[in-house]
Symmetry: C2
Subunit: 379 residues, 2 copies
């Protein structure tokens, strides 16, 4: 079997990296469309910094700030129509996974005609608007992947567009935009990144490079868990949900871990954990990172039963001696779990085993095993 490495995005990291490296925007064009959600980019300072950098480079821009959580296909078409109408040269996406996923689809749809039927085909002309991405959560890693995950009502799930065209040209990672994140978002996104790194190690496409990055990412996140738990406690004592308990250094660790985990899944894809999690998000509105976290422990248990060496590799990085220790750690972060009915388990399991993600699993569960994981993972 041959392995592949490819991740062509140019990444800038550090305080004020957008303004300091604004020259990198120059080659992308003269007119930008900022793609973001309604609020957070305005509050955390990222939108201002982007506007400042664009202005300093003499680049004009318009703002499309209508991206919702778990963006829909119609949001992507709407954004693309506006980009075309205004003759936009490139896209700047700011936010968590949602604006970044939407930004990629908009960049693709603004550059070529693709019917909704063919949107997830993976077969496109070789053109797309260039993209510059600014993550403001530390979870998705979308700034360095070739995936755009959209809510797809036709199949009642989230479906991914996957194409090397979707790698952004530039990404800017500045932890200060994540400082005001509520603790629950911080925890859920950290779990998402952890899941990416662990699933990457459990993928048939894992390579030396993806494993090296995954290990470092897992270490960073596991080392952050005491602070995350502490922040959760302070928050549960009734203080504001927006507590700046985490140090900027820890925020930066988490942002970089999420970036490295993005580089991992750009090589490895994700596994059954993501495939199962999509139903929890689509039908039960469970946050994406949390959904992965709910399922990850039980899947690692199955891996352990079928391929103990592989599971041990992951446990060793976390300095755990059993899968149960890992599940206990996750349980502390997840708190009270959602319920799931027998009928839901049946439906979601059927969906999960039909996904492409299944082909990435070194330990590929049967439908029966998927049902058992759902059963054991939720209440």
């Amino acid at each position: 079997m041959s392995f592949k490495y490819y991740m062509p995005t140019r990444v800038f990291m550090g305080n004020d990296c957008i303004v300091d490296n604004r020259e990198a925007l120059k080659s992308l064009g003269k007119k930008a469309m900022i793609v973001t959600g309604a609020h957070s980019a305005k509050i955390n300072g990222s939108e201002n910094d982007v506007k400042k950098a664009l202005s300093m480079m003499g680049i004009t821009y318009l703002v499309y700030d209508k991206v919702m959580s778990n963006p829909t296909i119609s949001c992507a078409y709407e954004g693309a129509a506006i980009a075309k109408e205004y003759g936009v040269d490139f896209i700047v996406a700011i936010g968590g996974g949602s604006p970044m996923d939407a930004g990629k689809a908009i960049a693709l749809l603004a550059a070529q005609e693709i019917t909704e039927e063919n949107l997830f085909s993976g077969v496109y002309e070789n053109k797309i608007l260039p993209m510059a991405f600014v993550p403001t959560t530390a979870g998705t890693g979308s700034e360095v992947t070739q995936y755009s995950i959209l809510t797809n009502d036709k199949v009642q799930s989230k479906t991914s567009i996957a194409s090397d065209l979707l790698f952004p040209q530039v990404a800017f990672l500045d932890e200060k935009y994540t400082e005001g994140l509520p603790i629950n978002t911080t925890v859920n996104t950290a779990i998402d990144a952890l899941s990416h790194a662990i699933e990457g190690m459990l993928s048939v496409r894992a390579s030396v490079v993806s494993n090296a990055l995954a290990k470092d990412c897992i270490e960073k996140i596991v080392n952050s868990i005491p602070e995350l738990q502490q922040a959760m406690q302070v928050s549960s004592l009734g203080k504001s949900n927006k507590i700046p308990v985490l140090s900027p250094e820890k925020r930066e660790d988490l942002l970089y871990a999420s970036f490295m985990a993005g580089m991992v899944i750009a090589q490895t894809g994700t596994t059954v954990v993501h495939a199962m999690g999509y139903s929890l998000t689509y039908f039960k509105d469970i946050d994406h990172g949390r959904a992965n976290g709910l399922l990850l422990g039980e899947y690692l248990k199955l891996v352990y039963e079928n391929n103990p060496d592989l599971a041990e590799k992951v446990l060793k990085v976390m300095k755990f001696t059993s899968v149960n220790q890992f599940i206990e750690m996750l349980d502390l972060l997840l708190g009270k779990k959602e319920t799931i009915s027998a009928l839901e388990i049946l439906e979601y399991s059927q969906k999960a085993i039909q996904t492409k993600n299944m082909g990435n699993c070194v330990v590929r569960p049967t439908e029966e095993e998927v049902r058992k994981i759902f059963q054991a993972s939720l209440d």
Copy 2:
């Protein structure tokens, strides 16, 4: 300070990866020039595999196999003239660092007019012939860097062309081409890769990504040292120098370590160790990897004296508790050391401290300290 990550080369790894992934050559053009040395690519099978893959894709080719060790500027101009004469679309470089370094310069010079005076300026038009690289030693990592190092008689040293244009489009890593390498080449190239990874960790440009890759690379090489030492012993007992003592798995580890170390220096550059080593190669014909190995221990000692935390980070990855343990390990690999005169030390030190590499050093030695490192490193 902001950090950067960029490495856009598409890398294929594994047995038969050239032929299996020949589609990747298609977008590079219809006529290729194979750039290589006179012998090794013909013996180890890599040239045949490249020709086979090109033929299967309907790509015609010519062969320029005149690249010498430590290639000269005139070699690059000669190769470029031939590429232009025959209207070549892209370059396939096969070999160790020398053909790859030459291949990059040829690709640049074939696409635009650059005078010898401006060759190292870093200021070029935005055009170059596309490149596909096949490393057949496990040391340089040139297949994933933006550097071309040429012998520069005007300054009596090796000088690097550095430009993002020089990243190859594609690299193919197949350990089987390294299986017949003599043990001294295997050791010297492994030391070169180790030096890249360690110097990367000691660079002011070290980032989370470069450090994650460097650590994994260092572990892989240090774990290979018992086998390397064993192979050296067998070799010294008078058996052929070309002994297949290392297992294919170990060869693969070393090849991937060298690739990851290339990704590291693509981000971090190299330090005073390389700057000093260039004189040992230029004036005393000491192999490039060996030259780094001779100097690396004493430089790490200086780092330890000035920034013990930084040196400890490197030592910890190797599971050493002192710099002397590291030096002992290197000494076993290096055997009898070359001599150096007081006059040579003076001259080489003056040269070293004028290089760009000095700016990369977290612990930047004075000229006096550079002299001391030379003094302590050679006999």
